[in-house]
Amino acid sequence: MTLSTPAPAPARTGVAARVLVTIFFGAQLATPWLVRRFSPAAQAPTATVDRQTALNRYGFYLEEVAHASGVDFVHQPPLLDQKLAAIMPEVTSMGAAVSIVDFDRDGWPDIYVTNSAIGSKNHLYRNNHDGSFTDVAEQMGIADVNQSGTGVSMGAVWGDFDNDGYDDLYLIKWGRPELFHNDQGHGFTRATEQAGLPPWINANTAVWFDYDGDGKLDLFVGGYYPESLDLWHLPNTRVMPESFEYAKNGGRKYLFHNLGKGHFEEVSAKVGIDSHRWALAAAAADLRGTGHPDLFIANDYGVSELYLNDGKHFREAGGETGIGFAPKSGMNASFGDIFNQGKFDIYVSNISEEGVLIQGNNLWVPQDGSSLKYDNLARDLGVELGGWSFGAQFGDLNNDGNLDLYLENGYISLDRKRSYWYDFAKVAGGNSSIIGDAVNWPAFNGRSLSGYQQKHLWLNDGAGKFNDVAQAVGVTDTYDGRSVVLADLWNRGVLDVVAANQGGPLLIYRNTVSGDKDWIEFALEGTKSNRSAIGATLTLFWGRKQQVQTVSGGNGFASENDRRVHFGLGKNPSLEKLVIRWPSGFIQTLNDLVPNRLYNVKEPS
């Protein structure tokens, strides 16, 4: 027997068959063009339209107002050990981060933004209630946090760890991690030593959450580079991941259990969290309705991890739930109930570069049934290709009752005409002994790597499709976007957008929504639960819809949204009820709700 296909015998085949196979072949060659022609991306508007047209067509538009609001922040990237000089743009490509906090409890969201060069300062923009902001980081004592020998900032998450009513700050760093206690909104005091934090962590993600339901916020920190490395004083150049897809030589993970009185105990090994993957993003939410927040980690250079929490221990279930099968370059973790069915979907950003690497972003949607299984529906719903993607957030930007998706992207924007992609792909395919040593990587020499990318703002049509309207509604920047947050900055009942760009300006997109759509917002305060109410799930029922959201202590990429929860309601909504599941387990139902109001809800004691 032979495997060879007998040579076709043209003499025995008719002309008709040859014509048919030629047409068949031609049709196959034309198929990619047809797919591209009719893809959602091809039909996305590529030009900005006037605001009235955007309002009529999409129900909202965005206007960049950072400078007009008194915010002129430009991020400064880090500069690491000169042993890495050849690939410095790559190894210093993160650090621009933004988070929302009402640090002084005046009812208006403030903005904290990180800087990453040694000696640079972080900014805390206090909301002046009149459309403007004032940087008060210096006087509050949380500006000068990137001093030589202590590392630099990579992000910030806020949570009231001592339940005094004021949100405290955990500063995510490549370097000495910092915990700052909020002194009643009048300033911050270092609480790092008292908390017992380790001397050095090279992290890009952290999450406040009460994993054991004891009413005190615990803290998860996900290491990226190994914690043994002082990136400014490296012993050698073997600092890169051992693999582009299967790396396990990253930083360790920490879970700091809150013992009270400002003390924490590191318990990750004790509770079953043991990973040295390269974590870039994490978020926690009660994904199964057990009353215990589960922990999702998006890892660079590998699979994502999902730690299921029984209140005392975690069990890694990425493989069995489907989200931990295909290794990609996870850079975001966001939860959103995009189908309005009372379940959290998970959005993970990855890398897609036309003609080189098409990982595609993941939108993990839970299957029906009792066991937790996810399907990736990113392609089906049109939110798969986002370039070199970073932070993303779900939020109802046009108040139509469906969660939309905002995505930051763009990796390294240097010389527009010269790309580093070839060299990147050349080395990334190699054995660990090659990829793992920075000295083997070709020099960047000013080239770009997936730079100057247009952002994506996918509008959820409520019928199972997302349409990219970024350009049309005014999102035209092409900076190297990293972290993005959504917040009702001026208490108008709409979600504004704040974006932090690597080596670029902080952008504030002020949202204007057509007046015929309603909304409702909730600000929660725990009593038996942690006072920040982080981990509370809110399920709003209106009309025939229900939508679940959670109060988050850190999500997206190195960011944290406003903890006030915003629901768009569409036109003339018939509000039924809100069901709050507090972290303490208490279930509270609110009836007789009225749209277009912010409700302050205190947990019944």
Binding site: A9, V21, S39, Q359
Partner: protein
């Protein structure tokens, strides 16, 4: 990928001419020349890669590629040959597409398999198909559907062990099939030219060697460039073609082409066949007088 894998195409004969003893070792050695070895070998690559590192986007995509490939071969074979072709070569094409193509979508896997198989029937010259089918299919997808696909350009893992098993096993099989010289020439040329590239670009030589330690090259070296249907016949010619592929790859790499080896084979493979056919036709014309004396030559 390879409709007629080198290892299976030719009759299994001991290369040394020495009769095989009936020992277990020799029986195993002889078995390596079995026509079933190529599909088993590529399945082994798939299983080692996926069980060790989860290389596949999903089993379903690979199964789709295999099923499409086999079905297309059956249908087109039935139409053109009026009999059912053996499915093994189509299986190899499908499984290769399943490994080498990377896309979050399903349709590229089906289309790539379809293009690969159909190219054998649609793109013919003097009775021969001139492109390695899976090389054609994957290159066509990279040219035409760059927004949806990429090829496997990243590593499977860090373990030299699994890599070594595949290299050793593949080399033994190729040697038994008397095709090892093709791969050896290519690998030697690639390594030598890597140092040349390093000298030209100033990049570390390790970065130039790096690609050949990745999984794409295992399939490329063991299955694509050794394809007997789309390589020239003479041993010397095969070595020249293998070097030419490496050289074309050098030029493409100097132009920063990410999928340089695939594109190099795409251009060099058919060119080599055309040259061989041209030389054959010249020889046939020159041999006409003797053909009258021996009509069998004309018929062969």
């Amino acid at each position: 990928m390879n409709p007629q894998p080198a290892m299976a195409h030719e009759p299994v004969t001991p290369t040394s001419g020495t009769p095989l003893s009936p020992s277990f070792g020799n029986r195993m050695f002889a078995a390596l020349g079995s026509p079933f070895v190529p599909p088993i070998f590529i399945t082994l690559i798939l299983l080692v890669g996926n069980l060790s590192y989860g290389i596949l986007e999903s089993y379903w995509k690979t199964l789709l590629a295999i099923a499409t490939s086999v079905l297309a071969e059956m249908m087109l074979g039935r139409i053109f040959l009026r009999k059912w072709p053996h499915p093994a070569s189509a299986y190899i094409t499908g499984i290769s597409v399943g490994i080498l193509l990377r896309s979050p979508a399903f349709w590229p896997y089906a289309l790539c398999s379809l293009l690969s198989i159909t190219s054998k029937y649609a793109l013919r010259f003097r009775g021969r198909h001139i492109w390695n089918p899976s090389n054609f299919g994957i290159c066509a997808m990279l040219f035409l559907a760059a927004q949806s696909v990429a090829s496997l350009s990243i590593q499977w893992g860090n373990n030299f062990g699994s890599l070594a098993v595949i290299w050793v096993l593949g080399s033994v099989i190729l040697w038994r099939a008397r095709r090892f010289h093709i791969s050896l020439t290519y690998v030697a040329s690639f390594i030598a030219l890597s140092f040349l590239r390093s000298w030209v670009t100033g990049d570390p030589w390790q970065s130039e060697i790096s690609p050949i330690t990745g999984p794409m090259y295992q399939l490329f070296i063991f299955f694509m460039i050794t394809d007997p249907k789309t390589t020239v016949r003479s041993r010397t010619g095969q070595c020249i073609v293998a070097f030419s592929i490496a050289f074309a790859e050098l030029l493409l790499r100097l132009d920063s082409c990410v999928f340089a080896p695939l594109y190099a084979l795409f251009w060099v493979g058919p060119a080599a066949l055309f040259i061989e056919m041209f030389i054959d036709s010249r020889r046939a014309r020159n041999a006409v007088p003797s053909a009258f004396a021996n009509p069998q030559i004309v018929r062969s």
